[in-house]
Symmetry: C2
């Protein structure tokens, strides 16, 4: 038995690819367009384990997607949590839970999927602007 992917639905494929690829740093691994079913599936994955995909399901007929509490978040380990959060912040992403501890941060996708970022290995020394940055919203 082998883990393949976590599927999430997206209301705006371009906004989601901008978030997951350009901002978060995942790579597009493959794409399936189904004209009959009127949907597009785009798979994205982290460079280190490209087999662990996220399947972005984009239905061509508009739907609005709300969240539920049974799903929590997707979690990724990163080499430098400050560098990733800085890149996200510079590109306009709210850091809902800044890495005040040099170890853990949370952001949200355009469809409110919560993403946890964890520093690989030991926590980094506390550093500004993160150390004094308050939380924003929930994650």
């Amino acid at each position: 038995m082998r883990y393949l992917h976590t599927m999430v639905r997206v209301t705006d494929l371009n906004a989601s690819l901008d978030f997951y690829v350009n901002k978060l740093g995942l790579k597009e691994t493959r794409r399936i367009e189904n004209k009959g079913g009127r949907f597009t599936l785009v798979f994205v994955a982290p460079p280190e384990n490209p087999d662990a995909e996220v399947e972005l399901t984009y239905n061509w007929d508009p739907e609005s997607y709300t969240g539920g509490r049974n799903f929590g978040h997707l979690a990724y380990a990163v080499d430098d949590i400050y560098a990733v959060c800085q890149r996200l912040k510079d590109k306009g992403v709210t850091i809902n839970r800044p890495p005040r501890d040099g170890r853990m941060a949370f952001v949200r996708s355009p469809d409110n999927i919560s993403i946890e970022l964890l520093q690989k290995g030991a926590a980094l020394p506390p550093a500004e602007p993160w150390a004094s940055m308050p939380n924003t919203g929930v994650w």
Copy 2:
């Protein structure tokens, strides 16, 4: 950047472990009890890629978890989709989308997390009782 886990919240830890471990076939990889925070985290993962975990978050103070459409499902590849569905069925799990095509099935966790099962490699030849089994509910 490396995928770590998908976190889901569970209302009944024993019922969830029964589903994810005894019925679905994942293995418990580690467990964290936090008395101060009044929560237990149990990580489960498939034998083939135990680094791709699901984090089951159990909050000791009762909460009710509903689902949302932004999260879709977790997907696993299996060696024999009929054998897995038979085991699930024998243990009382509803096969919401039976593997009529020998290739794909959907079931749900006790907290309504949708789980996709995909046959590894080529689809199996159609076989009963699956080939003529109708869908149940949504997934």
